[in-house]
């Protein structure tokens, strides 16, 4: 499935909103809000998005997976191993106590308020069911002001706490952002794809790929996803007009490719996302296999034997995009699917 219409049209309405997606969590926020903090862990992580310029509003999202909680005792550890070995089904997941989790969060916030000698008040709404979720809305006022929601999703077994935090006098702005956030916040991907969206980039990657490495520099983004030995590399360079004065797209990819591209067949494709993509494909050469083996840290699970890579220049956003993948030959459609789901402008 391609990205939904609402998400694809997001950059067109750049004045109005920003789409943020990280580790399966996604939301829509006002324009120019940007990710300023995140964790690499999918099962237990956080995301922080800041208002632009001198604004003091912050969106904080924290989540943890109840089904994949860490084994606490040796018995838990041994039971998990035996279960996997004997291929027994996982035990049913017990829904967590949301109120207790929320109380912990508020207790922590109250402690911070007390430290700054400010009164703390919290208003917690009753628990309610919203389809697959059980949720509690809350607001608090202390040394700051916050409005948020905690929920448990029966589909992905995640507990997610999201809140908009700002100064006490910013109640109106907090409310406006919170309503936009809560209306759009999702805790898992659709159709088996996770949305990864930050700094005007939007791409959907199969959800069994895990984020392995990231480099978020000014003018250059690099995300690397792994599934066993299979890898997807996404690179995005800004200021394409300056780069393309000296190099062609092909030369640029050749300089930055994960493999020696002279061994692979080159074709031009314009059937994937409306741009002309210089596409390279072929069976991995021995050196490429060695590189893949090194990248997979010696794991032979899903060991790749093919390479697919493509580069294109998006004039509208003035950026160069390159998506490369080490995949099994039977999985090459993953590359195509990711390129189709990449929104560059």
């Amino acid at each position: 499935m391609r990205a939904s219409h609402s998400e694809r049209s997001a950059p067109m309405e750049a004045e109005a909103r920003t789409v943020v997606g990280w580790q399966g969590v996604r939301c829509v926020l006002p324009a120019d809000w940007n990710v300023s903090g995140f964790s690499m862990d999918r099962d237990n992580g956080y995301l922080r998005v800041d208002a632009p310029g001198t604004g003091s509003l912050v969106v904080q999202v924290r989540w943890w997976n109840v089904a994949r909680s860490r084994p606490r005792t040796l018995y838990d550890l041994a039971a998990a191993v035996v279960r996997r070995w004997s291929r027994r089904p996982e035990p049913p997941v017990i829904a967590p106590d949301l109120r207790a989790n929320l109380d912990n969060l508020l207790k922590e916030t109250a402690r911070k308020s007390r430290r700054s000698h400010t009164d703390f008040r919290a208003d917690i709404k009753p628990e309610r069911s919203e389809g697959e979720r059980t949720a509690i809305n809350f607001t608090w006022v202390g040394n700051g002001r916050g409005q948020g929601k905690i929920w448990y999703c029966a589909t992905c077994h995640r507990v997610l706490i999201a809140q908009v935090v700002g100064a006490p006098q910013e109640a109106g702005a907090i409310g406006a952002v919170a309503s936009q956030l809560m209306g759009s916040l999702r805790c898992h991907g659709e159709s088996g794809y996770d949305l990864w969206a930050l700094y005007d980039l939007q791409i959907q990657i199969p959800e069994d790929f895990r984020l392995d490495t990231q480099k978020l520099l000014s003018g250059y983004l690099h995300l690397e996803f792994a599934r066993g030995g299979e890898r997807i590399f996404l690179d995005r360079w800004g200021l394409a007009n300056l780069t393309l004065k000296r190099f062609t797209c092909d030369e640029w990819l050749r300089n930055h490719a994960a493999v020696n591209l002279s061994r692979y067949t080159r074709t031009l494709r314009d059937d994937l996302n409306g741009h002309e993509i210089a596409y390279y494909e072929g069976v991995l050469a021995p050196a490429g296999k060695l590189r893949a083996f090194y990248e997979a840290r010696g794991s032979l699970r899903r060991f790749p034997d093919a390479y697919a890579g493509g580069i294109w220049n998006c004039d509208v956003s003035n950026r160069i995009y390159a998506i490369q993948a080490f995949l099994r030959a039977c999985d090459l459609d993953v590359w195509k699917g990711s390129v189709q789901r990449c929104v560059c402008h």
Partner: protein, 145 residues
Amino acid sequence: MRLPLKMWLYCRAGRWLPFLRIRPPEIDRSAVFVLRPGRNSLLKWEKRPSGDVLLTVPQNERAGFVTRTLARWMNVPPERYVELDEVGGFVWELCDGNHTIDAIVQKTSRQFKMNRREAEVSVTMFLQMLHERNFIGFYRKVKKA
């Protein structure tokens, strides 16, 4: 601009005598964004048709007699040249004392289709580098009483 005593102490002593533990005062982000960078009037600059900017930096302008004599004796060129690329040149042109840092960030992000955050990081780092080399100074607009 007259520096507060604490800042003056940091500039003079704190940098070289760390055991004094004189830290520079924390500056609010919003206070930084309203500063107006202005070019050093000793520098000459020209814009090329490609968009690049060539800065001509006088070398021995403020040097003392001994340094000037030594420089002349050792054939040190009186000027050095710094070339700024298209983005750098664009920012340099905006450093006229009228534009705030916030305005420069906005204009750069619009001109080069950069994300606001990306533009903010690049422009502030670039301005910091220019300031360290004494190519620019920062002004603050003060309301008249």
